[in-house]
């Protein structure tokens, strides 16, 4: 130590103390949650989603965290493909030592991460994937999913569809699992609700590559009485514009999954088709206290209005926080036990985590589209509680292969 001056020795000791002081509480207290999503592939949905969970994180920690321990979210880009997503999840688990995982958007990525969660025996709360399989055919005890799946959202639209008593239905869907399963569920459920209904034809354009003019003409050729669609994003916008121009929607009711979500509705602006039956999120009309509170906090923090993604991100992190609180820590088995049957509030209503399939009873807003001041809005909407539309105990039992 001869070469060391007094000053540098003091500095070293001081900086060590500071470092220790900074590291100590974080290491002893924070509970780490790993979050991963395709932020660059689906930014329109996921930027609001991220803002949602960031708001929740701030609120949770301001009100004391998890039993006095700070909650920390380590967020990762999953690269938009399952391979990279699994690697990101491995990194979160083994390098960041997170206690559980949450997130993902696309179905195949959600399934891949859910599969990893079962292998590594950690809890995974899937945020956005809508695939039915993640809680049913491919369900496992470590995976929980918050949003109502494709099947459930279709089931919410079917009563209105059956009421119309239309004979000939044409269907258009993006050609991948989400669209395929929406179509299959719709045919099954409407066929049950309205015996004798005819499905006169289908169009399945590749995701993001719809040739809208040709598809609209082909649908018109089928002379349907009504149309069921599960298009979204750019495909939906192209379809709506061509359909409006070519008079496809004249005197024909159209049902479109997800089209009322601000992410997909707002870009339509004055092209918004009148009277479509949709599921979505009429953020500026929901007057429940829970939602008012969320809305005010969100707008104060982000100077922007929430999208559905914001609700999903916000509620997913609250799910995680509530489960950790109930479990009294991050032990996987305790968290699983805590989540079974857990009841909680979300901005859009109370939900229950079903013990049978780890699916929450979060619902969706069902309503019709209209134009107001050159913008699309949802009118005559109601909140459809997921609990009323999820498959029954026996049906789930038959599907889950655990």
């Amino acid at each position: 130590m001869q070469g060391m001056t007094r000053r540098s020795a003091l500095l070293t000791i001081a900086s060590l103390t500071v470092a220790l002081a900074a590291a100590q509480p974080a290491r002893a207290q924070a509970i780490k949650v790993g979050e991963l999503n395709s932020y660059k592939t689906f930014p329109a949905f996921l930027e609001p989603y991220k803002k949602g969970w960031e708001l929740a994180l701030e609120e949770i920690n301001r009100s004391g965290g998890i039993g006095g321990r700070k909650l920390e979210v380590v967020s990762r880009e999953d690269g938009g493909n399952p391979g990279d997503a699994v690697r990101a999840a491995e990194e979160l688990l083994s390098r960041e030592n997170v206690s559980l995982l949450m997130g993902t958007f696309a179905s195949h990525i959600g399934l891949a991460v859910s599969n990893l969660a079962a292998q590594r025996k950690v809890v995974f709360v899937a945020a956005e994937p809508l695939t039915d399989k993640i809680v049913w055919e491919n369900g496992n005890r470590y995976t929980f999913r918050i949003r109502p799946s494709t099947y459930t959202q279709v089931a919410m639209l079917v009563p209105d569809a059956a009421k119309l008593k239309k004979q000939r239905w044409a269907i258009v869907y993006p050609n991948y699992e989400y669209g395929q399963s929406a179509t299959a569920s719709f045919k099954k459920l409407l066929g049950k609700a309205q015996p004798g209904v005819q499905f006169v034809g289908e169009q399945a354009p590749a995701l993001g590559k719809i040739d809208a003019g040709a598809v609209v003409q082909a649908l018109a050729d089928l002379k349907p009485d009504a149309i069921f669609s599960s298009l979204f994003g750019a495909d939906l916008q192209k379809f709506v514009r061509e359909g409006n121009l070519r008079g496809l929607f004249k005197d024909r009711p159209v049902f479109n999954l997800l089209a009322g979500e601000p992410e997909y509705l707002d870009p339509l602006k004055d092209e918004t088709p009148d009277g479509w039956y949709v599921t979505g999120y009429p953020w500026n009309e929901i007057k429940t206290p829970a939602h008012q509170k969320f809305l005010a906090a969100y707008r104060a923090k982000w100077k922007d209005y929430p999208r559905l993604g914001s609700i999903v991100g916000y509620s997913t992190l609250y799910t995680v926080a509530n489960a950790l609180k109930r479990a009294g820590g991050a032990d996987t088995e305790k968290v699983i036990a805590a989540m079974k049957g857990m009841e909680m509030e979300t901005p859009i209503g109370p939900i229950v985590w079903r013990p049978i399939d780890n699916q929450s009873t979060m619902g969706a807003y069902v309503g019709r589209l209209a134009k107001k001041d050159g913008k699309g809005v949802m009118v005559n909407w109601r909140y459809a509680d997921g609990a009323l539309f999820l498959p029954s105990f026996e049906e789930v039992k038959a599907m889950r292969k655990e």
């Binding site: 590559k209 916008q237 514009r241």
Partner: protein, 607 residues
């Protein structure tokens, strides 16, 4: 279909054909003169869309179109003069790497500048409604497009045949060294052509605004369509591009009209494969003149020195020791790097020494992965057997596709490999009952004795190092020398009794088998497999790895794979605009080391 709906579908096809032609014409011009495979052409189109929709809100749609096109043209001129011009002497395809980096940068720029939401522009003023044709509604704007495409074709034809500049462009397309020798200023010609191509891409994008929203996902989908059109029409042939655009757009429209919409997933690639198998240079293309640039002659691949071999052995030993000192994520990342190293080396095996440029190598990677996954899940084979036999699917795929591919050369060959990869992808994507469709297969885990990270790392290290060593060894066996002879001078190779096609076919199959091995290892390391493992982006990743490391070197792909995988992992974690950062890093590397990393080191430290 009634007669009137047949007519409408025909018109729909014409309108789409016009849009397709605008992008494809620019791409074709650029390739014809500069030999650049411009991956960023779709990004230029996307820029045209965003600029037009943004300007349109301020100055009206019709003013925004020419201004957006000019702005994109100017951007093209800038890209050519500041970036690509520095790379003409570099090995072939390096410009492709540069334009790929541009794709990443432009995409993040658009996200930053215009936000994540799709922007649907207003209808075109004056063409807001529809007209009634044969009792059916048809948009007025589509009629405008139908007329506009041929107008552009005519204008280009006049420009190319009736002006001095056009004559020079045609001369350079036919033989650019000769044109240069006759005193044509290549620099200005290349910049001009690139700017014109970019202008056409921007124009094509801007004119789509009344039909579709500006979205961040449009770039790659447009560029792949444009490539198909250009190749089907024949590279460098503007008229060919027009005919091909018409053909493909009509086939698509009638697929939809006849209720075969699922088929649109792949129809253009099927058309391209059929055309290339029957006419190896496209419908109106000619056999390309051999390039005689500085980059064309590849130096012989010297055998690694004893010192280099020792260094590689030391590296292997070091890698074998990693699990002793470090566990967890380091092993996960290294497993990925090893898998991609084998993948990149197998691609380099055919791209470098065999001279067969493949844009669809992921097909064999994915087939190997699916082979292993399907054996495990559908046939109930034990994991070890699935890992061993799965790669055969990759080899088998390469055996079948390779037979067609080795009959072609250059970019046509590359595009045929791409077409086959897309066809394989679409089968996997669509065959829900067997391959799990778009979700893929889950639950593909290693057997219990390989389940720990360290054990799986060792089996990966063993397999990948063995595979790479075997591939490298083959390059210095008579087979490897014969391959290089066949690449450098097919005629002379043939004259001394080498069966060029059989050699290349064997190499292609071997590379497919090795890629399949990488794919099978990948599947078991992730526990699941999805169609993305066969998709174009995965193929492009492979290309980037090989080019980044240096295509003319032996160990380059190794370093390229390591650097690219590590970069994706490290940069994506901490930085919001990570794509732009990766793009920028690639651009810097390309400009600083046009021979690739290894090539640079070798030049620098050569004895």
């Amino acid at each position: 279909m009634t007669y009137s709906s047949i007519l409408i579908q025909f018109l729909n096809g014409l309108a789409s054909a016009s849009s397709l032609f605008l992008v494809a014409a620019g791409l074709s011009l650029i390739f014809g003169v500069t030999r650049i495979v411009n991956f960023a052409h779709g990004s230029l189109y996307m820029l045209g869309m965003y600029v037009a929709v943004w300007l349109g809100e301020r100055i009206g749609f019709w003013w925004s179109v020419p201004i957006a096109a000019l702005a994109v043209g100017a951007f093209g001129a800038l890209v050519e003069s500041a970036l690509l011009r520095r790379l003409y002497a570099a090995p072939e395809l390096l410009q492709l790497l540069a334009t790929f980096a541009l794709v990443l940068v432009v995409k993040d720029f658009a996200l930053w500048a215009w936000g994540p939401e799709d922007i649907l522009g207003p209808r075109a003023p004056g063409f807001t409604g529809a007209v009634t044709i044969a009792g059916l509604q048809f948009p007025e704007y589509d009629l405008f497009l139908i007329g506009f495409g041929p107008l552009v074709l005519g204008a280009l034809w006049l420009l190319l045949t009736r002006t001095r500049w056009g004559t020079l462009v045609r001369a350079a397309t036919q033989d650019r060294e000769m044109a240069s020798a006759l005193g044509v200023n290549q620099k200005w010609l290349f910049t001009g052509v690139f700017a014109l191509g970019a202008f056409l891409a921007g124009l094509g994008g801007a004119l789509q605004i009344p039909r579709e929203p500006a979205t961040l996902l449009i770039d790659l989908s447009v560029v792949s369509d444009a490539f198909v059109v250009v190749v089907v029409g024949g590279l460098g042939s503007i008229g060919g591009a027009f005919v091909a655009a018409f053909l493909i757009a009509e086939i698509k429209a009638f697929c939809i009209g006849l209720g075969l919409s699922q088929f649109t997933l792949v129809v253009e690639f099927v058309v391209m494969a059929v055309v290339l198998v029957i006419r190896p240079w496209g419908l109106f293309g000619r056999m390309p003149a051999l390039a005689r640039g500085a980059g064309a002659v590849e130096p012989p691949l010297v055998a690694p020195s004893p010192a280099a071999l020792k260094a590689l052995a030391a590296l292997l030993a070091a890698l074998a020791l990693v699990p002793v000192v470090s566990g967890g994520y380091t092993l996960v990342l290294l497993t990925d790097i090893l898998v991609f190293a084998l993948f990149a080396v197998s691609l380099h095996f055919i791209m470098g020494p065999a001279g067969l440029h493949s844009f669809g190598h992921a097909a064999y990677f994915g087939l190997g992965a699916y082979g292993a996954g399907l054996l495990l899940l559908r046939a109930g084979a034990p994991m070890e057997l699935a890992l061993l036999l799965g790669p055969l699917a990759g080899g088998l795929g390469a055996l079948v596709f390779g037979w067609f591919c080795v009959r072609l050369s250059g970019v046509y060959l590359a595009m045929l490999t791409l077409a086959f990869a897309q066809i394989a992808w679409s089968v996997v994507f669509q065959w829900d009952a067997f391959t799990g469709g778009s979700n893929g297969l889950v639950g593909i885990w290693p057997a219990s004795w390989l389940a720990s990270k360290a054990a799986y790392y060792y089996i990966t290290l063993l397999t990948c190092a063995g595979g790479i060593a075997l591939l490298w060894r083959m390059l210095y066996a008579p087979f490897g020398y014969a391959l290089r002879a066949a690449r450098d001078s097919p005629l002379r190779a043939d004259a001394i009794g080498l069966d060029v096609r059989a050699l290349q076919w064997a190499a292609f199959t071997l590379a497919g088998l090795a890629a399949g091995m990488a794919g099978a290892l990948y599947a078991f390391s992730k526990g699941s497999i999805s169609p993305e493992s066969l998709s174009v982006p995965r193929s492009v990743d492979g290309l980037v790895m090989v080019l980044l490391g240096g295509i003319q070197t032996l160990t380059g792909p190794l370093w390229g794979a390591a650097l690219f995988t590590w970069m994706q992992d490290a940069v994506a974690r901490g930085i919001d605009y990570w794509r732009a950062v990766i793009g920028a890093v690639i651009l810097v590397l390309v400009l600083a080391f046009p021979q690739g990393l290894t090539g640079f080191l070798r030049q620098r430290f050569a004895p």
